[in-house]
């Protein structure tokens, strides 16, 4: 039997490559965070940001303004981008491991459309206006839709077929999108909330929302860490994993729970951000190889860095207006995905 070696690291020492990659990612994350604090409609120097972060402004009018910008605008969106980016990146890597499916992504799983539908319902039925209130509904909607698509595409022996997943996700997404429109058409205010929600942005929510999201992401990360050794075995296929003594049902349940918490919390706080998890999982695999114990943390860090950079890019491209981070990521991610397809990275099961 010929065993194909997957993503064999070409360097002499894979461990060194991975450590170097991890260190590089940390540096990238720090740089991206600094950029996110500095760049904006009103650009600040790093020194000014530092003053705004640390200091009591005193009576200086300019300092008061800087403190206000830094503490109420820049810091929250930077923190949220990091939290949501880690959540989506880790979720992306986990999804790909559990579905053994290279195109799995929280967006393709219907998480985004589920959240949108729930937001529209809550705004229209209960008149909610505050993100803190409707984020719970968004979370629930995302979880339910994701579980349905995940469950459908893993039934029977269709599991692992990229096509089944893509189409199940597409079907559920179309269905929910039509229902969302039907509700939103009746009410202009709901429609207004919906269109901004749909863009996916890390801007405009306070630490109350971010705090809740961070707790969920934290629990999700804990479950993900528990799940790491199992995924490596599940990735070999259910039969092999069972032969090696893995409790498949338990491993899968923990994994799906982790994915739901991570992707659901990120989506509930930011709105739909598609392709991020998929993109970073593929990029991370280039230097970590297929070992999920390395892949998952690297994907998480990369997710945070990419979301930060996407948000910064969105502030720059249409100045003085802003392009929402979710849109930037989609406009980058979709061509990335198409390129992977064209290069033949995905195979039909």
């Amino acid at each position: 039997m010929v065993v194909e070696q997957r993503a064999a690291p070409p360097g002499p020492d894979p461990r060194r490559r991975r450590l170097l990659g991890l260190a590089g990612l940390l540096v990238l994350l720090v740089v991206a965070s600094v950029l996110s604090l500095v760049i904006g409609t009103r650009s600040l120097t790093p020194a000014e940001v530092w003053q705004g972060l640390s200091g009591d402004p005193g009576g200086d009018q300019r300092l008061v303004e800087i403190t206000l910008i830094v503490q109420t605008l820049r810091v929250p969106r930077t923190v949220l981008a990091v939290v949501a980016g880690i959540g989506l990146g880790v979720a992306g890597a986990l999804i790909q491991g559990h579905t053994r499916n290279p195109i799995a992504d929280s967006g393709l799983l219907g998480v985004n459309s589920g959240a949108s539908f729930a937001v529209v319902l809550s705004v229209s039925l209960f008149g909610l206006r505050n993100p803190v209130q409707y984020m719970w509904f968004a979370f629930l909607g995302a979880a339910v839709a994701g579980a349905v698509v995940f469950g459908l595409s893993s039934l029977g022996r269709g599991a692992g077929n990229p096509l089944t997943l893509a189409l199940a996700g597409q079907g559920v997404t179309l269905f929910l999108a039509a229902m969302t429109t039907a509700v939103a058409l009746g009410d202009e205010q709901t429609l207004d909330v919906l269109r901004f929600w749909n863009a996916g942005s890390v801007q405009g929510v306070g630490f109350d929302v971010i705090g809740v999201a961070a707790v969920f992401v934290g629990v999700g990360l804990f479950l993900a860490v528990l799940n790491l050794p199992v995924i490596n075995l599940l990735d070999l296929g259910d039969d092999v994993a069972r032969g090696l003594g893995v409790n498949i049902a338990a491993g899968r349940t923990v994994g799906v729970l982790a994915i739901t918490l991570l992707a659901g919390a990120a989506t509930a706080a930011c709105g739909p951000i598609a392709f991020l998890g998929l993109m970073v999982a593929h990029i991370a695999r280039w230097f970590t190889g297929p070992d999920y114990r390395w892949l998952v943390p690297c994907a998480g860090l990369l997710g945070a860095a990419v979301l930060l950079l996407g948000d910064v890019a969105g502030r720059l491209v249409v100045r003085p207006a802003e392009l929402q981070a979710g849109l930037v990521i989609a406009l980058l991610g979709a061509p990335f995905f198409a390129a992977l397809v064209w290069l033949g990275k995905f195979r039909q099961a």
């Binding site: 079907g171 179309l174 269905f175 058409l185 207004d192 749909n198 849109l327 198409a338 064209w342």
Partner: protein, 351 residues
């Protein structure tokens, strides 16, 4: 799922030969009759109800002048656009599923819908309240955008021939891209334009006129002739490229022509009725089961597409509250059906 084998008979006329499937013809005829009935009911019901007998009389040119005005000027265009869009979407779906050799593929996945949506939203929102060129301009723009996106998917998926798997995945990514653009346009727009754009986005048959009917009808008629001629070569494709080549089918050329026709037909459907979801997906699958055909039947799919679309429109206008667009009804029917198909396909593979 098999009919009695002695009912099937080979028929040969000159250089052409095909299999005579009486059940298939019977079901198609029954569906056509049912479609005509729904068509008449749809015309008769409205703010002012015309009796069914009067509808039929008017259709054959023997009606009274009042009825003629209501029917020919007000209601016929809407119903006819429904039929045309339904036929176009149904056939387009049958072709797409045959080419991708996948029961779940549909033109929605191939980027046509997404491209048309982005273009239409651009026209609505850039017009600043007044749509450029009215409804006809809107559907022309949507058609152009949909076709360009469809061709883009086609060329991106082309790599020494068209492969169904690559086609669908490229289509999914291009759809995501166009969707991001649509969302962006909606964020930038005035909220009143957003409401109008959203209405178009879900697919609707409201306020149609005769020029739209004629334009769509001519394009569709030409395409259907092309499809019917080429579809003789389509059946062997279901066995895979090697077998088809062995049977003397130039599979690459046939697939290219059929896919192009599918894209154009979907463009016709979407520009006429908006991106009505699921008709193209559901119609071939249901008719496949009804006609007990092993592959999506082209003609019956078209007829069923029309039935589904005008039937849904009738339901939307009569049963449901506040005049919802037809696309909502087709999504409510189509979504669960898609789920059923998936579950069934997976369970069968497991067996």
């Amino acid at each position: 799922m098999t009919t009695a084998p002695d009912m099937h008979r080979g028929v040969r006329v000159g250089g052409w030969s095909w299999v005579w499937r009486p059940w298939n013809v019977l079901v198609t005829a029954a569906l056509a009759a049912l479609t005509f009935l729904v068509f008449c009911v749809s015309i008769s019901i409205g703010d002012f109800t015309v009796e069914l007998s009067a509808v039929v009389r008017t259709l054959v040119g023997q009606g009274e002048r009042v009825d003629e005005f209501v029917i020919m000027d007000l209601r016929m265009p809407r119903a006819l656009v429904g039929v045309i869009a339904g036929v176009a979407l149904g056939i387009s779906g049958a072709l797409t599923q045959s080419i991708a050799r996948n029961p779940l593929a549909s033109p929605d996945v191939l980027g046509i819908t997404g491209g048309a949506s982005a273009t239409a939203v651009f026209v609505v929102t850039a017009g600043g309240g007044a749509a450029i060129g009215g409804a006809a301009g809107l559907s022309t723009a949507a058609l152009t955008g949909g076709l360009l996106t469809g061709l883009l998917v086609y060329f991106l998926a082309w790599k020494k021939g068209i492969d169904g798997f690559r086609l669908i995945l490229i289509g999914v990514s291009v759809s995501a891209l166009t969707q991001a653009i649509t969302t962006w346009l909606l964020v930038l727009a005035d909220i009143r334009d957003v409401a109008r754009a959203q209405r178009w986005l879900v697919g609707s048959l409201d306020s149609r006129s005769w020029p739209e009917v004629w334009a769509a009808l001519w394009v569709m008629a030409v395409l259907i002739v092309v499809v019917l001629v080429v579809s003789f070569q389509m059946q062997p494709l279901h066995f895979g490229d090697d077998v088809a080549a062995g049977l003397g089918v130039r599979y690459s050329a046939v697939r290219a022509v059929l896919l192009l026709s599918a894209v154009l037909l979907a463009g016709v459907g979407v520009s006429a009725a908006g991106p009505v979801p699921f008709v193209a997906l559901v119609a071939p699958q249901i008719t496949m089961r009804l006609t007990r055909s092993p592959v999506p039947p082209v003609v019956a799919s078209g007829v069923f597409g029309a039935l589904l679309l005008i039937g849904s429109d009738l339901i939307a206008r009569t049963v449901l509250p506040n005049d919802l667009p037809v696309g909502v009804v087709t999504a409510i029917i189509g979504g669960p059906f898609l789920v059923y198909l998936l579950v069934q396909a997976n369970v069968r593979r497991a067996a």
